[in-house]
């Protein structure tokens, strides 16, 4: 039983790390602000869920697990809100999302 919990938590931690890495890769390679934010915010939230879930499994049923659950709830609320606020700010300052097929990426960001 302890072995399965261990293996499961390791899988979740590795998957969470992989998600965040993919998000970082997407934030670098995407052509403009909106696509970059889409890549970074989705994978960040999922990565946070997986990593904190993995740590919660390692901690068992202690006070630390409840604190971790509270942190997870806070992250689930604020991380998408922050991305929403960022996208609103971008629209407000005039950056229009590009439509149509992907053009080759210009070197200016």
């Amino acid at each position: 039983m302890a072995m399965t919990i261990d293996i499961l938590s390791w899988i979740m931690l590795t998957a969470g790390g992989a998600f965040v890495f993919i998000g970082g890769l997407g934030a670098l390679r995407m052509p403009n602000l909106y696509t970059r934010m889409h890549a970074a915010s989705l994978t960040d939230t999922m990565g946070a869920v997986l990593v904190i879930g993995g740590i919660m499994m390692q901690a068992g049923l202690t006070l630390a697990t409840i604190k971790l659950a509270a942190i997870l709830l806070f992250l689930l609320l604020t991380s998408p809100t922050a991305s929403n606020a960022l996208a609103s700010a971008a629209i407000l300052s005039g950056l229009q999302p590009e439509e149509g097929p992907i053009k080759p990426r210009k070197n200016a960001e």
Binding site: F74, L77, T78, T81, N84, A85, S88
Partner: protein
């Protein structure tokens, strides 16, 4: 081995972020990168077993400092003009000094060496005497509030003076509290127009307050204390001010209340010191505050941490309002 690699990785991230801060010419990006730098520094502190310091650096460095810089940036320009004065000379001086300091580090004691001079005299004495004299689990709070309480009194007065200084500089002249006449269809003040940040923010603010109170009173038993709690409560009120507009936040917590908070916290701290003098001990000697010296120490520590938290909250909010009210609207 993994811990070593992780430590080196975090340090490398710190250096990269610092280089990016200096090289960018968009000040807005530099301020956000400073927030990231502070957060990485907090992670480094945690890796070096300094939990209290990591909490303080995250709350004050990454949280409040970014807000203050952004408030100042809104009043000055956002772009740096660029071009440096005497770049080669500066680079030369900097390189030579780096090499000299690196040469000096070869003589330092090994990291974590328990026989290093810094671990010899007062440090072990504090660790030994805290369970005996003060009996709280957090040794850092015991040293900060009781053994070195006089230094902390000076620190509260420094925060108080900085608050007065900013109020002096930025309350006179332009920027008054006149209600602007808005056309009927203009978006309201703050972020009232935007649904998602407003709903989520208003849901979170009571919990941030609660967490601030938890950190304040839990400082004896875990990482925490007055400074971190003051920063967290100030962050809650700043969030409210950003969402509902600064005028609404001033109606909720008016400037007069804030000025009372600023002065009241420092007064509370000094009053405990004077009270212990009246009760027969020295200044800031908490053992005379109750019949049992250890209970006296507990009472003293809780009250002065409360004073510290109140002053830090008041000063950070005064500074925020001073920057925000000085707008070009």
């Amino acid at each position: 081995m993994i811990i070593i690699l992780f430590g080196v990785f975090l340090l490398a991230l710190l250096v990269i972020t610092a280089l990016a801060i200096v090289r960018t010419d968009n000040l807005f990006a530099a301020v956000i990168l400073t927030g990231i730098f502070s957060l990485l520094m907090a992670a480094n502190f945690f890796l070096l077993d300094a939990a209290d310091v990591a909490l303080t650096e995250a709350a004050i460095g990454a949280g409040i400092s970014t807000v203050l810089f952004l408030g100042a940036l809104a009043l000055t320009g956002e772009r740096e003009r660029g071009g440096s004065t005497n770049r080669l000379l500066a680079l030369g001086v900097v390189t030579v000094t780096t090499l000299i300091v690196i040469y000096a580090t070869f003589d330092k004691p090994r990291l974590g060496d328990p026989d290093a001079p810094v671990h010899q005299h007062v440090g072990p004495w504090y660790l030994e005497k805290t369970p005996a004299l003060i009996d709280i689990p957090n040794a850092v709070t015991a040293v900060l509030a009781s053994f070195r309480g006089y230094d902390t009194l000076g620190e509260v007065f420094v925060v108080f003076t900085a608050g007065i200084g900013v109020l002096f500089l930025l309350s006179a002249g332009r920027g008054g509290r006149t209600e602007e006449i808005r056309p009927a269809d203009a978006p309201g003040p703050g972020l009232r127009h935007y649904l998602v940040p407003r709903v989520v923010g208003r849901m979170l603010i009571p919990f941030i307050f609660l967490f601030g109170l938890y950190v304040q009173f839990h400082g004896d038993y875990g990482p925490g204390g007055g400074f971190q709690a003051g920063a967290i409560v100030a962050a809650a009120v700043i969030l409210y001010a950003l969402l509902e507009g600064e005028a609404q936040a001033l109606r909720a917590l008016p400037m007069s209340v804030l000025k009372w908070l600023v002065a009241g916290g420092a007064l509370l701290y000094g009053a405990i010191g004077v009270a212990s003098m009246f009760l027969g001990g020295n200044f800031l000697d908490y053992s005379v505050l109750a019949s049992d010296p250890i209970t006296g120490q507990h009472i003293g520590i809780i009250v002065i941490e409360l004073g510290v938290g109140i002053t830090v909250t008041g000063v950070l909010l005064c500074v925020f309002h001073a920057f925000a009210a000085r707008g070009k609207v």
